[in-house]
Symmetry: C2
Subunit: 335 residues, 2 copies
C-alpha cells in the first residue's frame, strides 16, 4: 500500500443527497480528494440492516447517491466510489472481528443505543443493526484508513474500530490493522428549511442537489425564518435563522450578505427580499450540479461503469488486507 | 442444482476425532455419502467464535479432522470436504440473514444459552458466538441442504435456519432458500471411558481414531465399568456399563457378546476378561483406520489438495446460491 493517507467515507443509500450532505461532507470530500486517497462507500449492506424489507429503495438510491457524488464534483479519477455489497471481503473481516467484541460491549454502544431509541426498534432491533459497528470497523480497516469523517455522535464508532484494531494486533501478534482518527467537519449541520436543527429525508425538510428551479423556489419561499419578524419594519433575528445560515454556507458576496444581515437586524427588510436573494445564490450553486446530473442521468451505463470499476479497485485493496488478516490468523491454508 | 438430496454436516476443528464422533456421526456419513450429495464442513470460522485467541489450535486441527475423515472412510469422490473460512459466500449470506433475525430472538436461542452457561462466558460472550446460529443458517442454506445431522440439543439451530428461510422467501418474494430437516442419529452418544455420559476432549475421556495400540490398551484397561462389581464372583451390571456399550457399538460377534453379558450378570466374569475382548474388538476396528491415517500423514500435500479442491467445489455451489440471494434482494447491480 502506498504512503498516501487514506480516507474512508460514504453514505447509506436511503435517499438522494441534499444541501445538508453537501455542507456536512460532500464539500470536504471534493477538497480532500486531492490530498488523500479517498474511498467513498455507498453503504447498501449497512442500509439493509434497518431496511431489509425494502431492498428496492436501497437499490434505487445507490444510483441516486452516485449521481449526486459525480454531479457535485467527486472525481472518480481521484476518489474510488464503490458499492459496499460488492466486496465479500467486508463481511469476511466482520466475521472475524465479531469474535473480538463482547456481546456486552455491543449492547452498550452509545450511538447504536440512541439510534435504536430514535427508530423505535425496542427489543425487535435486527441483529444486523446491533452489529453494524463491527461491520463499520471492517469497512474502515479494509482500506487502512487513517481518517474517517464523522459527526460527533459517531465518535463511539471510531473508538470501537480502534479497540478492534488494537485487540486484533495484540492477539494475533501483528501490525496488520491500523487505527484511525475521526475527522469532524467544521460546519457540522445545516438546519432544515422548517428550522429543525437537522436537514433530513425523514423530516421532509431538505433541499436536494437534484431539485429543479421551481422546486427550489417553492422550498426557499416557505422557509422558516425568525418567527417574531412579523412586519417588515420590525427588527429581525439573524442568528439561528436558516435563511442567513444558508447564505453564509453558500453565498460568495460576503459584503452583500453582511449588509442584508445588518438591515434585517435594524428592521425594514422583508423576509421575501432575503429569500429571493437566497434563491439566486442557491440556484447559482445548484445549476452546474443539476446540469452535470442531467447529463449523467442520460448515460447511466457510464455511471454504472464507474461504480463497477470503483468496486473492483476497492475489492482489490480490501483483499490485500484480508489476506494479511487471514495470514495473521493462520487461516492461509493453501499458501 | 441437481435433484440429488443434499446433506450439510461437519465438525469444529478443535481436536482430533474420537469413537464418540464415529458412532454419533462419522459412521452414518460414510453410509449416507452413497445416497446423498454430502458437504462436510471443517468449521474453522465457527471454532474461532470461542477460540479467537488460539487460532493455531484451530489451524492444526483442520488437518487432524481431515485426516480422521479420510481415514475412516469419507470418500472425497462422493463427499465434498471443505474448510469453512475458505468460502467468502458464507459470511456474505450471514450478513444478510442477520437483518432478518431480531436481537431478542438471538438472545433466547436455547442452545446458545446453554452453551454460554457451560462455557462460563457470562456477559463477556463474544458477539461472534452469539450470532453463530445465523452463520450456521448460512452454511446450511448455501448448499440447499435438505438434511442436517444434529444432536437433539441442536434442534433450535434447525428451527432458526428454517425461520430465516421462510422470512427471506416471504420478504424477497422468491423461493431461493430451502428449508431443511434435522437428522438425529439413532445411536446418539457414546459414554466416555470414565463413565461420563459424553465422550469429549475437554473431559479427556475419549478414545481417538488415531490412538495407537498401546494407548488403546491403556485406555480400555482403566475404563469405568460397574462400580459395584468388586469381586469376580459378584453379579455385574451390563446396562449403562461403558464396556458393554462399546462392545454393542463396535463388536460384530453378537452371540459372543450376549454370552459375555449373561456371564457378567450371573457373576464369575472378571472385568479384565471383558476388557481384553473389548480391546481386541476396538483394535480390529481401529487398525485399518490407523493404517490409512499413517499413510495420509506421510502425504499431507495430498490431503491439502483434497481440501483445496473440496473448498473450491463448495465455494462454487455456495456462489450460485449467493447469486440468487443477491438477485432476490436486488443487489445484482452489474448483471
Amino acid at each position: 500500500m502506498s504512503d498516501q493517507k487514506v480516507i474512508l467515507t460514504g453514505d447509506r443509500p436511503t435517499g438522494a443527497l441534499h444541501l445538508g450532505h453537501y455542507v456536512g461532507s460532500l464539500k470536504s470530500r471534493v477538497e480532500l480528494q486531492h490530498e488523500y486517497k479517498q474511498y467513498i462507500m455507498i453503504a447498501d449492506a449497512q442500509a439493509l440492516t434497518d431496511n431489509a424489507k425494502t431492498p428496492e429503495k436501497v437499490r434505487e438510491n445507490v444510483l441516486e447517491v452516485a449521481l449526486d457524488y459525480l454531479a457535485c464534483g467527486i472525481d472518480p479519477k481521484l476518489s474510488t466510489i464503490f458499492i459496499q455489497s460488492q466486496l465479500p471481503q467486508l463481511p469476511e473481516l466482520t466475521q472475524f472481528y465479531l469474535n473480538l467484541v463482547t456481546w456486552n460491549r455491543l449492547k452498550h454502544n452509545p450511538t447504536v443505543k440512541q439510534e435504536i431509541s430514535q427508530k423505535g426498534f425496542g427489543e425487535s432491533v435486527p441483529a444486523g443493526f446491533m452489529t453494524y459497528p463491527i461491520s463499520q470497523a471492517a469497512d474502515i480497516t479494509a482500506f487502512k484508513a487513517s481518517l474517517v469523517p464523522v459527526g460527533e455522535d459517531q465518535l463511539p464508532m471510531i473508538e470501537q474500530t480502534n479497540e478492534i484494531v488494537r485487540n486484533f494486533n495484540r492477539i494475533y501478534k501483528c501490525r496488520v490493522l491500523w487505527t484511525c482518527k475521526a475527522h469532524i467537519p467544521k460546519v457540522g449541520r445545516l438546519p432544515g428549511i422548517d428550522g429543525h436543527a437537522k436537514m433530513s429525508k425523514s423530516l421532509d425538510n431538505g433541499i436536494y442537489l437534484k431539485d429543479d428551479e421551481d422546486l427550489l423556489r417553492k422550498k426557499v419561499k416557505k422557509m422558516y425564518t425568525d418567527p417574531n419578524h412579523l412586519r417588515v419594519e420590525d427588527p429581525g433575528q439573524v442568528e439561528g435563522n436558516p435563511v442567513f445560515i444558508y447564505l453564509d454556507a453558500f453565498g460568495h458576496d460576503t459584503k452583500k450578505i453582511q449588509e442584508l444581515k445588518d438591515h434585517y437586524q435594524r428592521g425594514g427588510l422583508g423576509d421575501m427580499v432575503v429569500k429571493n436573494y437566497l434563491f439566486e445564490v442557491l440556484n447559482e450553486f445548484l445549476e452546474p450540479i443539476r446540469k452535470k446530473r442531467k447529463q449523467l442521468e442520460n448515460d447511466k451505463s457510464e455511471v454504472m461503469s464507474i461504480l463497477k470499476a470503483g468496486s473492483e479497485f476497492a475489492a482489490n485493496t480490501a483483499q490485500k488486507t484480508l489476506d494479511e488478516v487471514k495470514q495473521a490468523m493462520k487461516l492461509n491454508y493453501f499458501g
